[in-house]
Symmetry: C2
């Protein structure tokens, strides 16, 4: 292998007034000495400024500035039994939708002084259980979950922590504590109605056999029946929902019934796979077969033809979750523990 070429990377000079040569972290005592008060007064000035007289408060703030003091979160957490960490459980950090929710959450919580710490459950109960142990060891101030905790033992464990817990995504009836989500059932209904409006009769479903996939299938099946649609085939897999899986599922579908008019895929990635496969086999989309997805990923917009899909405001889920958690963290009460975020059917070229 030839010698790689180095990149000339930008370097930016320090702005004025930088911290003097670091000689280890500054402790509260140092600030106290400089401000001529006791350490506890510094602590108070920083946490509840109104508890300290204006004169001292100003002296303290100046001293904090000068020394570059930053409270040691471990000492704080050890003494108070509670940290400024909000633990967020995410099944898959590569998911655009989950990442958006985390962004929304962090955008609300970070300005309030909380640190969002991500834990990856990787869709595994084993990982989830391990993770709960290690994250709760950090004495988080609150917990957010992109999804619903399924294992009863983990639900109990979280409940017993005594901190605000926010589940999300599916609109489940009995959250551990609070929940913000959209109704998978409603989304599936919208697709069934859309297919019916378009005059399709013979339809099919592609999705995962568990979790959200199942929720979407059940509702889709139910509403197809109500609307007089014939659900000819249901392809449920136990695997990940990716583009390749969508292709495979479409192959299976087309090798069976050849008169399917519309397919509902429980995720956009599956739908994209299905769409690519259909077109490669010479089928017109939506002429020969209409395809709808779920999730409104960027892919749905960029692909040709655009993918009709169910859009959820996933960043909004994170934002609302953050606001509710913050309210509780600041001592407030939440009257409505379950918040519903409506879905929307986005019509594009694929149906």
């Amino acid at each position: 292998m030839s010698e790689p070429t180095f990149d000339k990377v930008l370097r930016v000079a320090s702005p004025e007034s930088e911290s003097p040569a670091e000689r280890g972290p500054v402790r509260i005592e140092e600030v106290a000495k400089l401000a001529q008060v006791s350490p506890i007064t510094v602590s108070r000035a920083l946490r509840r400024p109104q508890m300290v007289s204006a004169v001292r408060r100003e002296r303290i703030m100046k001293a904090v500035e000068v020394t570059g003091y930053f409270s040691n979160p471990h000492a704080k957490a050890l003494k108070s039994g509670k940290s400024d960490i909000v633990a967020a459980f995410v099944s898959n950090i590569l998911s655009e939708q989950f990442s958006l929710a985390i962004e929304g959450l962090a955008d609300v919580l970070e300005p309030a002084g909380f640190q969002v710490v991500l834990g990856r459950t990787s869709y595994s109960y084993q990982r989830e259980t391990t993770l709960i142990r290690s994250l709760t060891a950090m004495r988080p101030a609150a917990v957010f979950i992109t999804g619903v905790m399924e294992l009863e033992s983990n639900r109990t464990f979280l409940r017993n922590m005594g901190v605000p817990i926010m589940e999300s995504w599916a609109l489940a009836r009995d959250p551990i504590d609070m929940l913000v989500g959209f109704s998978n059932a409603d989304g599936a209904r919208m697709v069934a109605e859309h297919f019916a409006q378009r005059g399709h009769r013979k339809v099919a479903f592609i999705g995962r056999s568990g979790g959200r996939g199942m929720l979407r299938l059940n509702s889709f099946a139910e509403h197809c029946e109500q609307l007089g649609l014939e659900l000819c085939q249901r392809i449920s897999r136990d695997t990940v929902s990716g583009v390749p899986e969508g292709r495979e599922a479409m192959q299976d579908l087309l090798s069976g019934h050849t008169d399917i008019e519309a397919v509902f895929c429980a995720s956009d990635l599956l739908a994209v796979g299905a769409l690519l496969e259909a077109r490669e086999r010479g089928l017109q989309v939506p002429g020969d077969i209409a395809i709808a997805g779920f999730g409104d990923s960027t892919l749905a917009e960029e692909i040709t033809p655009g993918l009709t899909t169910i859009a959820a405001d996933t960043r909004g889920v994170g934002t609302i979750a953050g606001q509710m958690l913050l309210e509780r963290l600041q001592g407030g009460k939440i009257e409505q523990a379950i918040r519903h975020v409506p879905l929307q059917l986005i019509e594009r070229g694929s149906t």
Copy 2:
């Protein structure tokens, strides 16, 4: 708004042998009492098992099991001055490439008992500086950065922390401590060579005006000259590199020179935007104009025609970073502080 439909969400019964009704976290003292040793022996048995006799070690491990003890990370960090946290600075958690690197990093570090904590710098020096303060307050065991720290003051600050620091992505010459990256310059060279091979003469560039965009432009320009290609137009923007920006840039490009044969876009998203715009204006890709990107996002593969692009093993960057950090964390020495990850040109339909 009509009443939303609730989802019937899966619940899974607890497996056998669950922790008994939680009555607050277990402390090391409790374990010690049960195992009939002193707390410090428990601590040792957990951290350096070989320092404790086999008999006691077993008694202790059993007691840990029975009580469900999990060491309090705050007490540990407070006393030892070092936590099990690895701080990871990411400019954008929505980026597929960065997320992959984080996955790779966490996959290596988590099994070794470290917690990867993400901080979002959002491409802002301000945010980055604030974040460094709050993350270093956690006394991380190591630091990972998706990118290179540019501000000199922040570089100094990190260096002074005295923990392993890993920068990444660009192949810069003088890292704070360690670095794993690929050569942006090499990637741009590959594209120039590819265009030359294809017989193109009049080429253009679209990218960001700073950071990686600039690196790629400089190298591209240099190699175009060497290869006898004419770099007719360079469109550099100061904004985000998204699909809409790619469209706009392509509009600008086409409103100027109309005889451009090939365009190198410094990111896949820009390239996708450019590609969509070109096709909507009735141009054949690659017949009328060839387009190449950088990054090999999933989009590059799924779009029609497939996007020729420079692929980097970004998960590999995270994995290697994790391995090197781990080596250092376990007391080892790293002889080669800079690791080069080769790039690869993926030929698809767009060129």
